[in-house]
């Protein structure tokens, strides 16, 4: 064995990995872990908050809609449906709201260092995804243990719906984060759109309660509604108030799915188009 004496006061450089993909994946990982960690440091309960928040929302919505307004009556499994929907919704809204600032809030990095800019958006989404993955796992394990889940062959589609949710969130994040650099009003606009989506997607009530077929068709075109309804249908026992989106809006189901994919494509194109202007505009 040879021992190479370290010349004092020098630091040998490291050869970067050849694969740019590997570097980018690593940077996404470091950035998302950092923001995940930072989000919860300094508070006594730390990560638990990201679980408490959807649970509180669930509690309040359950109280208001199920107990006071008796919205889900006749549907004994409605609480589980509500819980699954709220966890998915929380991911959607937090991920898009955080992503909004992923470019604009990192002006320092963008003006002073080179790296593919989409990494900032993907890292922001990944960080939200981390919370979402933990919450979903917890909710699914607990509800399964309590016997509230109804796992059948149709449950095999569940990963696909989660995937669709991620594609939708990523597409919107790319779109929102790049546009926000130039139109700061977007932050407020998106808050309002989110509120409309929250009620328009039947997060807190069974989708079947929409009586008019026209309204149902219209609301069903929105990918958030479709994803949430299909998740409920795939995981919880079907009832008069819990149907698959296909049975509600028929062939129109293609639209929300296509819309998710299209939004991703549009987000990607818009982001790429605007990328060269980031450094100068921030």
């Amino acid at each position: 064995m040879t021992v190479v004496a370290q010349e004092s006061g020098t630091l040998e450089a490291i050869q970067r990995p050849k694969s740019v993909f590997q570097r980018n994946v690593n940077l996404v990982r470091e950035l998302s872990i950092t923001s995940f960690k930072l989000k919860y440091t300094g508070s006594a309960l730390g990560y638990v908050w990201s679980l408490i928040k959807p649970l509180m929302l669930f509690g309040i919505m359950f109280l208001v809609f199920s107990i006071l307004l008796r919205v889900g009556k006749g549907d004994t499994d409605f609480p589980v449906q509500l819980l699954i929907a709220i966890v998915a919704w929380t991911f959607f809204t937090e991920a898009t709201a955080t992503a909004m600032n992923a470019v604009a809030g990192n002006g320092d990095l963008i003006r002073k260092a080179y790296f593919p800019r989409w990494i900032l958006v993907v890292a922001s989404t990944t960080s939200a995804l981390l919370t979402f993955a933990i919450n979903t796992t917890l909710v699914l394990v607990v509800t399964f243990a309590l016997g509230d889940l109804h796992l059948t062959l149709r449950s095999l589609f569940v990963p696909l719906f989660y995937l669709e949710l991620i594609v939708l969130v990523l597409g919107l994040s790319l779109l929102l984060s790049s546009l926000f650099v130039f139109f700061r009003d977007l932050g407020h606009i998106w808050e309002i759109v989110s509120l409309v989506l929250f009620y328009g997607s039947g997060v807190v009530f069974p989708f079947m309660l929409i009586k008019s077929q026209t309204l149902l068709d219209l609301a069903g075109l929105n990918p958030v509604a479709q994803i949430i309804q299909d998740l409920r249908y795939s995981l919880v026992v079907s009832s008069p108030l819990n149907h698959s989106m296909v049975s509600l809006i028929g062939a129109l189901e293609v639209v929300p799915i296509m819309l998710s994919v299209t939004l991703f494509g549009v987000g990607f194109l818009v982001f790429n188009k605007l990328t060269p202007k980031f450094a100068e505009s921030l």
Binding site: T10, I14, Q22, N26, E30, T34, K112, P276
Partner: protein, 416 residues
């Protein structure tokens, strides 16, 4: 062999909006006035190559396009036309510690900063202790960055920045901070890079370091290359340009306050820096031989021990003419409590400077010199009037002439 850097017909123009137009309300209410822009040509048809192993300096007055060129090289800005191509890996030192997070520990920041350079966690894991040792921060590995002094932060940032194996090193003059022993380490590193035949681009105001290190200097002015060649040939051109440029300072341009690190709130910070003439009036114009007082007001934000206030006077191009501080002149500024204010005055009875534009740089730091509390460069600019008396150069040495004429009595009487 291919040049490491190829720059061809590079053009870059910035459109500076005259109004803040990124809100919806503005867009709606000013539909027709979308053309309220001022164009600023930052680079105008710049072309050059850098062969492998060359140490290239880029010089030029403020606003000449140096930074824009650097940012295009580093792919931060996109050129309007033309291209800048780097063949190989590059490391950019535009600012140290980009991507660092003050809430993370030194160790975590090494992983984060390393990832910004393209290095993976697995590669860095074996290297962390070595980096900490090089930065002389072994004992602080688990401390949060926000608790570090600025000197410690710079050391860590520099140590991470040099980690990436690279073919081209692009540097802005960022390294003039930190304590002396660390500066030495920085220069050792750069000398090593130079010995190893790395290609280096250095942007600097400091003619001394350009002359010392660079094989070739590019002089930029108003977005174009005005001189290109060995340092010894280009620097006189630069001097001439600066002399012309110094006249611009005469127009009493607003002083640009550039702080060492705006993110840190200093323990002691400058509130105002003014220049007074012999009658105590604020002015920016002085005559050679007149009295000048630098009037500095400081605010103590955090309780501190004894500290030192420093003053430097530079020529408009950055050449240091004189620098001193309270410690060197045996003046004590004793420790103060948060909330106290201090007035420090530095008076030059008779200015020895000749006509031209000058800059004043001020700083406050601890007695050891490792903690820079505040640093403003330039804090003020002033101009020495041209009295038209024909004196040449930078300073009036106030030498005395003495002429002794001895009459040769014999010759004189013979002529008569």
């Amino acid at each position: 062999m291919n040049p490491v850097v190829e720059v061809s017909h590079l053009r870059k123009r910035f459109r500076l909006p005259l109004d803040k137009s990124n809100t919806l309300k503005y867009r709606v209410t000013h539909l027709r006035s979308s053309s309220r822009y001022r164009d600023l040509v930052a680079l105008n048809d710049v072309s050059f190559d850098i062969p492998s192993g060359q140490f290239l300096g880029i010089a030029g007055p403020n606003g000449c396009g140096k930074s824009t060129l650097l940012k295009i090289l580093c792919r931060i800005y996109k050129a309007d036309s033309g291209y800048a191509r780097v063949n190989g890996e590059f490391s950019a030192f535009l600012e140290l510690g980009v991507g660092f997070n003050p809430e993370l520990t030194a160790r975590e920041n090494i992983f984060l900063g390393g990832a910004m350079l393209g290095l993976t966690r697995a590669q860095l894991r074996d290297k962390v202790d070595e980096v900490l040792a090089f930065a002389e921060l072994e004992e602080f590995a688990e401390q949060k960055l926000k608790n570090f002094s600025s000197g410690m932060q710079v050391r860590l940032a520099f140590s991470v920045a040099i980690l990436g194996q690279t073919d081209l090193l692009v540097m802005d003059e960022v390294l003039a901070v930190g304590d002396a022993s660390f500066q030495e380490k920085c220069f050792d590193t750069f000398n090593r890079y130079k010995r190893e035949g790395k290609t280096i681009v250095l942007v600097s105001h400091n003619l001394g370091s350009l002359e010392e290190y660079c094989d070739r200097v590019l002089l930029l002015n108003q977005g174009a290359i005005v001189a290109d060649g060995p340092a010894a040939e280009v620097i006189p051109t630069y001097h001439r340009m600066v002399a012309d440029h110094a006249l611009a300072v005469e127009r009493d341009l607003p002083v640009e306050l550039s702080r060492a690190d705006p993110r840190r709130s200093p323990a002691v910070g400058f509130v105002s820096v003014g220049l007074l003439n012999g009658s105590g009036q604020n002015t920016r114009r002085f005559d050679t031989g007149s009295e000048m007082t630098l009037d500095m007001n400081l605010q103590v934000h955090r309780t501190v021990g004894d500290f030192v206030c420093g003053v430097a006077i530079r020529r408009a191009d950055g050449l240091l003419l004189s620098g001193t501080n309270t410690l060197l002149d045996n003046v004590t500024i004793s420790g103060l409590l948060a909330g106290d204010t201090v007035s420090v005055r530095y008076t030059i009875d008779s200015l020895p400077l000749l006509a031209g534009g000058y800059l004043v740089q001020v700083s406050v730091h601890d007695v050891g010199g490792s903690d820079i509390y505040d640093w403003i460069d330039p804090a003020a600019t002033f101009h020495i009037n041209d009295l038209g008396d024909g004196h040449q150069g930078l300073i009036e040495l106030r030498g005395r002439w003495q002429v002794d004429e001895t009459e040769d009595v014999l010759v004189r009487s013979a002529r008569q």
